[in-house]
Symmetry: C2
Subunit: 286 residues, 2 copies
């Protein structure tokens, strides 16, 4: 494949987790830049260049929905604290028309949310036809946190993987393009980023002492993610592992994956369902 990620299956083929194969995260290099531009400046420039095409495809997807096209996109971002989920929203979704974006950050479930099935709060935030929804954390939190903290029995976690797969299958059948990105950073990079959050007064609000507790559970979280990637990478809702120690590569890769998926959808402006000439004449009072 070419250096810019344009192989037969593009960057998708390069970063996609093969369905049905056990994943070993330690075999992934978090500083790698597969298929990407060689360095930061080129990466940032490439993202800016993609912006125009992405926005154009987004507008066509939206326009098409006004004529009954149900297609829509769901981008799921998962990763450890500081892995760059928020930064990806800012730099990638920020390239698009906000009117067609539905950005949702999922936090610890509220009391009301805990009364419902774990997918209840997710269903409410799904993209409507023509929209791109971005989830900063998602239903995958419900097979990560409870498992790592042993809040639910392992049989329950097992059941949830299957429920997620069935849920995402329903979405795909209903014409949702599901793109799931695991932003993969190293423990060393996380330490650097957490220290930076502590040291910079304009970053401190992003820090919580609970982040230190979660960091202490790093190996358990990596294991939980491995199981997620192994059990829930499906042909209809693939997982992509994004090396995320380099922020510019992370943004480039997610933008590029989104671009490849939107190009494949190839949305078109709808043909008018009214008589253009007659409307023109009416407007001009003829």
């Amino acid at each position: 494949m070419a250096k810019d990620g344009r192989g037969s299956d593009g960057l998708r083929g390069l970063l996609r987790v093969p369905a049905g194969t056990p994943v070993d995260l330690s075999s992934y290099d978090t500083r790698a830049t597969p298929g990407g531009p060689g360095h930061k400046a080129a990466g940032r420039a490439a993202v800016a260049r993609m912006g125009k095409e992405l926005a154009g495809l987004q507008e066509r997807l939206w326009a098409s929905s006004t004529a009954g096209d149900r297609r829509r996109v769901l981008l799921v971002l998962q990763g450890m604290d500081t892995s760059g989920k928020g930064g990806t929203v800012k730099h990638v979704a920020g390239l698009l028309n906000p009117a067609g974006c539905r950005i949702k950050g999922f936090k610890a479930p509220t009391a009301e949310e805990r009364e419902h099935h774990f997918l209840w709060r997710v269903e409410k935030e799904l993209p409507r036809p023509g929209e791109l929804a971005v989830f900063d954390r998602s239903h995958y939190e419900d097979v990560l946190v409870p498992r790592v903290r042993a809040l639910i029995p392992r049989t329950e976690t097992d059941r949830r993987y299957d429920e997620i797969n069935r849920f995402e299958r329903l979405l795909a059948d209903d014409r949702v393009t599901v793109i799931k990105c695991f932003l993969h950073i190293s423990a060393e990079e996380q330490l650097r980023r957490l220290l930076r959050r502590l040291d910079r007064p304009d970053k401190r609000w992003k820090f919580s002492p609970g982040d230190i507790d979660d960091r202490a559970l790093w190996p358990s979280y990596q294991q939980a993610y491995q199981t997620v990637l192994t059990r829930c990478a499906t042909p209809h809702a693939p997982w992509y592992v994004i090396p995320a120690d380099r922020k510019w590569y992370r943004d480039w890769a997610v933008a590029r994956l989104l671009l490849e998926h939107l190009r494949a959808l190839d949305p078109r402006y709808p043909r008018p369902d009214f008589d253009v000439a007659a409307c023109r004449a009416r407007l001009l009072g003829h």
Copy 2:
């Protein structure tokens, strides 16, 4: 006041509808550029320059909400078809981090929405603390369309103005900064824009033959807007009339109004509620 809109009360003072004074829309020049840069290129450049400050203020407002600050902003955009509500969302909200934006376009009420009070669907879309919500159309549609089309008795419309004022008072008391912008175009400019939508295949999806019917009711809509501006311009939820025949001025003015309001809010990064040095030591394993 200075040419760039920086008087004692800035552009707000210049464009704000005086509370309690009857409004005559025909006295407003839709091609005027009050307080603005002299021409298109300067206007576009000024908007781009404002982007960085707007995004910085937005981040601080968001950061502050994580420490309990309930303040948030609601930007309401109203105007005739083609007045540029969508363009304003794209060019002004597009300057911000989409994670902190809640963009909602209100269409004709659904069957479910009609079963409820007209404010029901609006309440669900209000900004959460730290957010900027932008309404492309709003609860004002419910005192415009039904009045112009005589769908409800005049006494009911009268009651709705009062309900809107009380509703917006509740919002202001709950620390919502309400900014209402009427994008004011001329009938001639609308004709040009509707024809452009018909002529350009990539714009046709925005056109609906119903737009011609609404255009035929132009004088009634202008009257209905005049009543809205007269009855619902309050100190706690002011209306601004934005001359909108020039798109660059419209974007500049809305961005500038937003900037002035955010500057006045002066949000700050919160002080940490944890011991920074202790967290640093824990992270480093000391």
